[in-house]
Amino acid sequence: MISNERKKYLKKRKKEKILILFFQILILFLFIIIWELLSRFKIIDTFLLSSPSNILKTIIKLYKSNNLFSHIFKTLDEIIISFVLGNIIGFIISSILWFNKKLSLILDPYLTIINSLPKVAFGPLIIILVGANTNSIIIMSLLISSIVSILNMNTFFKNTDKNIIKIIKTMGGNKYDIFFRVVVPSNLNYILDSFKVNISMCFVGVIMGEFLVSKEGIGYLINYGSQIFNMNLVLTGIILLVLLTIILYLIINLIIKKIKRY
């Protein structure tokens, strides 16, 4: 049985939620309408800043020429591959570092340096080594995302509660017991949360890579648009990127919610 007070409370919470969502959507609509109006009344230059209707037209044109989804899926492919690989690499390396305290201490300054370097600087080198193809885009993205995931997981693993480890040790547990029964499961929620940061790192890496080498993908659209001074194309690329980010973020959130157990 739900009490009246509870019903009232739930109703109030629901109202609040709807109100917030309403304002969130309102801002988006206002932004689009004002942008459109400003361009219609020629207050802003559509050649430089495009307009929502022009962007829509560009999207339809891309769709009609069968290019829209090939660009989106190309980028999506690269992001998913580098996201999965980046996290696997991150997990393996940070596990090795956890099992090897000395190695972790030795490599610590190198990890910090690699993390603070702007990875785009490696772009030309990667292209020469790997070739101007999808592989170098993925490597570019991995360079950014895996280092973040190594550093994150390494911190999580290191901060595992020492007392729980102590208990496992007194029960006769070895390092593997400690790692697989305590370190990994107790940090699972943190690792899942770090996926959200990681996916945006993959976006940065993939778009950067596409700027440098690709012949397809959203990064390519933006880069190509800027080269031929077609700002409609550039802004269309940016809008597609925003949509893709939102969709991927929501999917990851959903997966995290499913996996989180407590």
Partner: protein
């Protein structure tokens, strides 16, 4: 003749840091007999917990020796229950068995029976967050007991609980350990807790910890007030 299961002889321990050396334990001698309920009491930071860590092989010592009965099995409990929030109460209690590859059907049944016997039957499939502080501490004790240890080391096991719960759970835990016929060493800074739970109390001095005095307590005939005053004056007069 009482059965000696653990002998600590002239034990000394130093902690080394970059800045200095800290002398924590100084020439500690303790004998522990089967079914002993031994309390170690001392000022905070006096190295009480270090003695337990050394007995449990979690830390090294510098001088002296520790002689244990062959195959002496040790169970350890800390200030908090440290139950794993991602495991059910039953799985928490089985973790030691799993580590030791003894998680047989028989042992699972035994664990379940123990949980039921000590009032946690309802919570077998619950997660630790659903239990009260006292219940969690009891679950932690069962997790230790299912491995069938000869001796239980309790390191200020109730200090995270509120006063009333502490009183109840300390009696509770004492009875459980008695019923399971185990030996107990408990480290605490709470004089009442030590008097209520133990048949022998060792009072340690400030660091470096030396044994200041030893009290034998006759459970049927104890003058709690007198003991409290004596131990209090031992602790405060350095």
């Amino acid at each position: 003749m009482m059965n000696k299961i653990l002998e600590i002889k002239n034990l000394s321990k130093f902690y080394q840091t970059n800045e200095k050396e800290i002398h924590v334990l100084d020439n500690i001698n303790i004998n522990v007999f089967q079914n002993d309920f031994l309390g170690i009491i001392g000022p905070s930071g006096s190295g009480k917990s270090t003695i337990l860590s050394i007995i449990a092989n979690l830390e090294d010592y510098d001088l002296g020796s520790i002689i244990k009965k062959d195959n002496l099995k040790i169970g350890y409990m800390l200030q908090k229950d440290y139950l794993m929030p991602y495991l059910t109460i039953l799985d928490n209690c089985l973790i030691g068995l799993k580590i030791n590859k003894k998680c047989t059907k028989e042992n699972i049944e035994k664990t379940k029976k123990m949980l039921i016997k000590y009032g946690l039957g309802k919570y077998i499939n619950s997660y630790p967050d659903d239990l009260s502080g006292g219940q969690r501490q009891r679950a932690a004790l069962i997790r230790t007991l299912v491995l069938d240890p000869d001796i239980l080391l309790l390191d200020e096991p109730f200090s995270a609980l509120d006063y009333q719960t502490r009183l109840n759970i300390s009696k509770d835990i004492k009875n459980i350990i008695k019923e399971e016929k185990k030996t107990l060493i408990i480290v605490t800074h709470d004089i009442n807790e030590a008097i209520n739970m133990c048949n022998r109390i060792i009072v340690l001095s400030n660091t470096p910890a030396k044994i200041k005095s030893i009290y034998k307590i006759d459970e049927d005939n104890k003058d709690e007030m007198y003991l409290y005053k004596k131990i209090w004056s031992d602790l405060t007069n350095d």
